[in-house]
Symmetry: none
Subunit: 226 residues, 4 copies
DNA sequence: TATGAATGAGAGTTCATTCAT
DNA sequence: GATGAATGAACTCTCATTCAT
């Protein structure tokens, strides 16, 4: 991150690399989950060692021993979250054979307006914000979006091939548009925008509807125009 | 002991109310512009009084005299930016009579991938991030989005009436979808995503294309489907 | 914004509880002595962290680590002084068996116009002043005075029983009167009043004389009136 | 005072000398009364220009124009209080011809445990505290105590002459003892000591009783011993 | 004469980090 | 490997004061 580069050298212990170590491995994962919660709660910049320590029950100096600097801890936590999201997306695609169904699943998982959408999306906003100014995280973000759009493109291509989606579709462009729709709807969700049509799943429905139209599908499964 | 009532009443000088006053008014506006720059540059949380002081040439204590606390300064800066954006949007609509042209203008202004898109969008990401955890800013954000979607809805309605857009269109839902597309494309722009198709204006083109399809228009102006 | 939760929980390190710990315990006691000196010298309100740091050789941040806030440091320092005074009083009583002698000792210790009376009394004035507006210190002051008067009352009772003091004496009232005499003479001592009859021990003599008369004793040990 | 000698030269305008000026004279007196209240309330060290400004309705810069520095304002306020006290004492003596009655009046006025003893005594503690470290105020304090004891001595002498008080009495010493009793009882009063026997006027009674005994008088007016 | 605007100095506090077990 | 103790750096904020009407 950027702020609070309070003097001192960034003594990053080799532990960070030793991902697979049995002992600290468990601790690490638990800590990362706790850290993710704190980030969603207080924001990345507001996340102090003390907070993660309280949330995880691990002493501050141990956290530093595990992760190095505060910055490294935050990065690790974000990576953790990204990996979870990635896994969810992949299994969403695997849940069906039909391209449209797959797309619907993807959108549902992506919009995530089921249980507590704000919390999820707050974390994403934090992630963007952090990635803006941290090279490592920006790199991570690029990869995450690359994979994410790759997944969408696969589905789009399958849909074109199978004739479910309109033929003139450019999968790359479509993936950008679809991902933009999902991320874009996340912002009012994160902010708890009272202007959003009420009702759980409304955001998902709006996005699904738009995606159907972009892909040349009717939401009800009727043959698309074009 | 007693002294040092750090808490207590928020000593916000009356300046805040006196927006139009000659002296401090000028100073304030200039400072806010400078602060906006610093926020885009270093992030809101990374914006120290010292930074704004350096950027504006105004002493730190004077900044505090003008705005009260650092928090208040940030809020004022964000409000300033929002007002600018709002003005740009409104004049974008006024630039034409034709609904589709108006929509194209709106998208162009909104996506803003002309000169330095990253800088603009970084500021927006900062704004969202800040609004997540500040009540005042969240309120402001809701209003900004309310007005922003209101503008889009007007255009959509005009387009439906004039027959340029497809008839079954729900203006409210459409406005959510269109705004989401624009915000959503802003994220790769902010992050400098190398996966974005190269070329200035590409993002705008992708969004315009998607909007055309959502509205039932062909980008080239051919009669829309539906 | 969110960060900088200056308020929140009072991060007072557990050190406070662990009085007997070897390491910090020593440091703490030394610091408290130094702080007491600074308070007498510059006044409690004029006592900055920097001053105590200079006087004790302990860095400012360490002082905060030990005591928490400046307020807590001052309170701890006052408590330290009170404990010392209390010990001196108790041992003054133990120095003799005869009630009148005990009383004389108490007055001598209390008036303390031997070496540098001003310094001692300045600290007490500071203590009163601080206790006026701090609940914790006021509580402490009440306890100190309670014990202090308790001691006097014991001696008075013993004197009544032994026949040395006049019989109609109310020990409670007498203790208030005697303590008032001592505290009251402390004020010109603290202020270096040039109106005080010259000579070391004069203040003690004046108070002893008054106490003798209140108790129905002659200073020289002649049988008292009443 | 001592603290907060924040740089800058002590530019004291000549106004301070111009006590009698018609216009500002009124303002000055009102301000001093207000300042006295603030001092009793928040303590001298806690008394900021802003506080006095709020309490008096006079702008900060005007206060500075009137009194010069914050220190000067405090000194003027204390002088104001001392003058009031002095007047009260003098008129207390004038209220009767009989020395013992005069003494009783003096004690009553001095102990002042009628209406809100704590407030009055808090101001005195503040005065002592301030005088400890300010040469001008210490000088003032010496004068105040000189006059105060002078008054007591006069009464004592009259009492000796008239045969009301015991003959061996040393008026100077007696005045020190009596003043000490009064000031000394002021401390538990200022601190709201719960150990003080309850009931309005109790403190006065205890002091009067002690004074009677010191002077060789019985509280009931019977001929004193010795 | 009186007052609002502006500013410099200094203080407390938070927090990441280093060091020694 | 893990952790408590100690400390330096930086930042926000308060407040008296100066300056210009």
């Amino acid at each position: 991150m950027t702020e609070n580069d309070t003097g001192g050298t960034a003594r990053r212990p080799p532990i960070v690399a030793r991902r697979g170590s049995r002992r600290s491995g468990r601790g690490r994962a638990a800590v990362l989950a706790a850290a993710g919660g704190v980030i969603g709660d207080r924001g990345a910049d507001g996340t102090r060692f003390t907070d993660v320590s309280r949330a995880s029950g691990v002493p501050v100096s141990t956290l530093q021993y595990y992760f190095g600097s505060r910055e490294d801890l935050l990065i690790a936590a974000f990576r953790h979250e990204c990996a979870r999201e990635q896994a969810a997306m992949t299994s969403a695609v695997r849940a069906s054979e039909d391209p449209w169904d797959q797309m619907v699943h993807l959108v549902r998982v992506g919009v995530a307006d089921g249980d507590r959408p704000a919390l999820t999306w707050r974390t994403w906003v934090e992630f963007w914000r952090a990635a803006l100014r941290d090279d490592e995280l920006r790199e991570e973000a690029h990869e995450v979006y690359h994979r994410w759009r790759g997944l969408v493109q696969e589905v789009v291509r399958a849909g074109i091939t199978s004739g479910r989606f309109r033929s003139g579709l450019n999968p790359d462009i479509a993936s950008h548009q679809i991902v933009a729709l999902i991320d874009g709807i996340g912002i009012p969700l994160a902010l708890g925008d009272p202007g959003l049509p009420a009702g759980q799943g409304t955001a998902t429905k709006m996005v699904t509807d738009a995606v159907a139209r972009l892909l040349g599908m009717r939401p009800r499964g009727e043959p698309g125009a074009d």
